[in-house]
């Protein structure tokens, strides 16, 4: 990787707001051809200003070329994952007032190829997600009219087994925080493993055998070092590390 040149430009937003406070955004500008530098922008902030708001302010008034991916602005779509002050987080879910720092360093997520600036390529994450067959597998349909077959009911206890894992928004923060992902380019990753557990733990699903076979290979579940950083950074409260341990217990024959 090319060395980061500390070429810094500093601009100030002309946005008219009630705030007297400001924050300095230190944004990593980079492209897939290896070009890297940091640009600084001073933007006005309020108590409720999120990192995404500040980035969009800088993009609107100071530099239209800043590359950002975003959509819902409410931690639902998983588009605006980035490294904020060294920690993977959603820009729309991180308030500047909670960062306790006047200069906010914003970089693209680790362990993903950079497309431009803060936008990364999600192909590997999506491919691994698809690989574990992220859907309920069963031979029969849920309701067959006229046969007396009814919907597949679940008890609250059944739902409890997987419900937190279904909150995954595929933002990639867990994969970005994973130390194994940084080294092993073939590792399936905590996101896909957590989703494998989500469907295996679902009592309606019959695809357990196939999914366990997919994750039980040399760059599969066994390469997880149980660092737990995936669970720490998840903005939706999913605990991929726990899901991985549960999957391991299936593979070791501790659980059926």
């Amino acid at each position: 990787m090319a060395a980061i040149q500390p070429k810094i430009s500093e601009e100030k937003s002309q946005t008219i707001v009630s705030s007297t406070k400001s924050a300095t955004l230190r944004i990593k500008r980079s492209s897939s051809d290896g070009f890297e530098k940091f640009d600084q922008f001073i933007v006005p902030v309020e108590k409720w200003t999120t990192v995404l708001d500040a980035l969009l302010d800088a993009k609107s008034h100071l530099d239209h070329s800043i590359g950002i991916r975003y959509s819902c602005r409410q931690a639902s779509c998983g588009s605006c994952g980035m490294k904020i002050n060294g920690k993977p987080a959603l820009a729309c879910f991180t308030k500047i007032s909670e960062l306790d720092s006047e200069t906010i360093t914003i970089e693209p997520m680790d362990n993903f190829p950079v497309i431009r600036d803060l936008v990364v390529n999600f192909s590997r994450l999506i491919n691994n997600h698809k690989k574990i067959m992220p859907y309920v597998i069963r031979g029969d349909s849920e309701i067959t009219p006229g046969t007396g077959v009814r919907e597949t009911l679940q008890t609250p206890e059944d739902v409890e087994k997987y419900i937190q894992f279904s909150s995954c928004i595929k933002c990639g923060l867990c994969n970005s925080a994973c130390p194994t992902m940084a080294m092993d380019t073939s590792f399936i990753g905590p996101q896909a493993l957590a989703q494998a557990y989500r469907y295996i733990a679902d009592t309606r699903d019959n695809g357990k055998k196939n999914r366990l076979k997919i994750i039980d290979e040399s760059h599969g579940i066994w390469r997880c070092h149980a660092a737990g950083s995936c669970s720490q950074v998840c903005p939706k409260g999913v605990d991929p590390a726990m899901g991985i341990q549960m999957l391991r217990s299936y593979l070791l024959g501790i659980r059926d």
Binding site: S186, D216, S218, G220, L251, L252
Partner: protein, 116 residues
């Protein structure tokens, strides 16, 4: 792929547990005399010639070799990826493990039979 990764890892964990147990026995046996005495030539040879102890040493050799070389394989697989590289690492580690067990076993057998 020679065998499923879960089987390899079961062997990995099993050999670790087995090695800890047997090495603990080995250390306790060393404590039956002073440390410097236990390393004296005659005492070392006497240990090898005790059949039970020779079997214990052979088991420790096998367990640690299997565990250690699989650990090395895992580290090397995480460091770099690629089909031919991974095949080379897997077969290389198996070959190195067999070579080490064979050489160690030769020493144990020859010493316990009084050939040294």
């Amino acid at each position: 792929m020679l065998m499923r990764e879960s089987i390899v890892m079961k062997i990995h964990y099993g050999t670790a547990l087995g090695a800890v147990f047997l090495v603990a026995i080995h250390i306790m046996m060393r404590m039956t005399m002073d440390f410097h005495e236990s390393l004296q030539y005659e005492n070392v040879i006497a240990n090898y010639q005790m059949i039970g102890y020779a079997i214990l040493l052979e088991l420790i050799l096998v367990l640690i070799s299997v565990h250690g070389f699989n650990g090395l394989r895992v580290i090397l697989l995480e460091m770099r990826q690629g089909q031919s590289y991974e095949k080379g690492v897997t077969y290389g580690c198996i070959a190195a493990m067999i070579a080490l067990v064979a050489y160690g076993s030769r020493t144990i057998i020859m010493t316990s039979m009084g050939m040294v």
